[in-house]
């Protein structure tokens, strides 16, 4: 009797252990086919008061980072007519959602205050406008460096996201590196 009870308890325990990972498993995001080319649209400031130099620095850093580390064979600029002929094209739309212009002087003096941060909503779509991925990415400069570093930080993070999820270079092994969550 005791043996049967023990065996039953053991079976239940094993069954639970097996079932837990299956129950916790979240549904996978929709599969995104890798793209060979990306078109970067100009950063939209919208209602946010963003100085022109920040807007341009964000755009240029983003283009440069995608060229270096995005994993795309072609990176097109906003309005480039050659993009129309690209077959596997992803379009990156960006809009600033928050901007706090800190002070390099304050950072140098206090080492605590004066951080600059900029949050940008990134929307990756296909040629037809179908949304493939949406993420909010924040660029920051906290301690050392000029305010422009925040735009560089944003560009690096955005290029990593694009490389991991959309580019033809993306591999499953590094898909969890960036730690961002999909909005969709």
């Amino acid at each position: 009797m005791k043996t049967i009870k023990r065996a039953t308890i053991l079976c239940i325990f094993i069954a639970r252990l097996t079932a837990v990972p299956l129950l916790c498993e979240q549904p996978h995001p929709p599969a995104i086919s890798p793209a060979a080319a990306i078109e970067v649209e100009m950063i939209q400031a919208g209602e946010i008061s963003l100085p022109a130099e920040f807007q341009v620095a964000l755009y240029e850093n983003l283009v440069q980072e995608l060229q270096k580390n995005g994993g795309f064979s072609q990176v097109y600029r906003d309005g480039d007519r050659n993009a129309a002929g690209a077959s596997d094209l992803v379009v990156l739309h960006t809009a600033v959602t928050a901007f706090k212009k800190g002070s390099e002087l304050e950072r140098d003096v206090t080492t605590v205050g004066g951080a600059t941060s900029i949050t940008i909503h990134c929307k990756f779509t296909d040629k037809e406008g179908k949304v493939l991925l949406e993420r909010d990415i924040t660029g920051k400069v906290r301690l050392i460096g000029d305010n422009l570093k925040a735009t560089d930080d944003f560009a690096k993070k955005a290029a990593t996201v694009a490389q991991e999820t959309l580019s033809s270079d993306s591999t499953s092994s590094n898909s969890k590196k960036s730690g961002y969550k999909n909005v969709i």
Partner: protein, 178 residues
Amino acid sequence: MKLNRLILWSLLIALGTLTPLCPAQQPPPAPVSIEAVQVIGLVGVKQNTKGNLKVENGSLSFAHSKSTCEVPAASIQDVVTGADSQRVIGGTVGTISRLAPYGGGTALSLLRSKVDIITIQYRDSNGGLHGVIFTMPVGQAQLIKQALVAQGAHTSIPSQAKSISYSPLQSEAKEQVN
């Protein structure tokens, strides 16, 4: 006979008076040339490269130790100085040079020299949008902007003198700075 002479003299005098009123050929704008730092944006030029920025013959050129880059003024969609964006955003114009975001690579902003910023957006031959940022000694950005606009560049923010005449608030801001 006397009448003929009188008419001839009248015509000559009239011509002499009217000639200065005719549109005279304007001399080409004098080239503007200054030392500047290309912060980011020019194709093939590294970030924070020092060089000579010149507006001449309908184009903006940046010459540095390795090469020269040219951007036709007509392809420039927007040229904005740091002071322009400061005014639009609502800050005080005078602070831009002191707390300008881009130093010359110095670790401490306390040691930085005062700089002006100019931001340019232009389209290449394929229609692709480029953005370029230059820093330069204080007071030079406005000169470059004026020279570019005179040679066919566009700007989303009119020059300081014009914008002040549009808004009394902006002239108040200027008074505070002065």
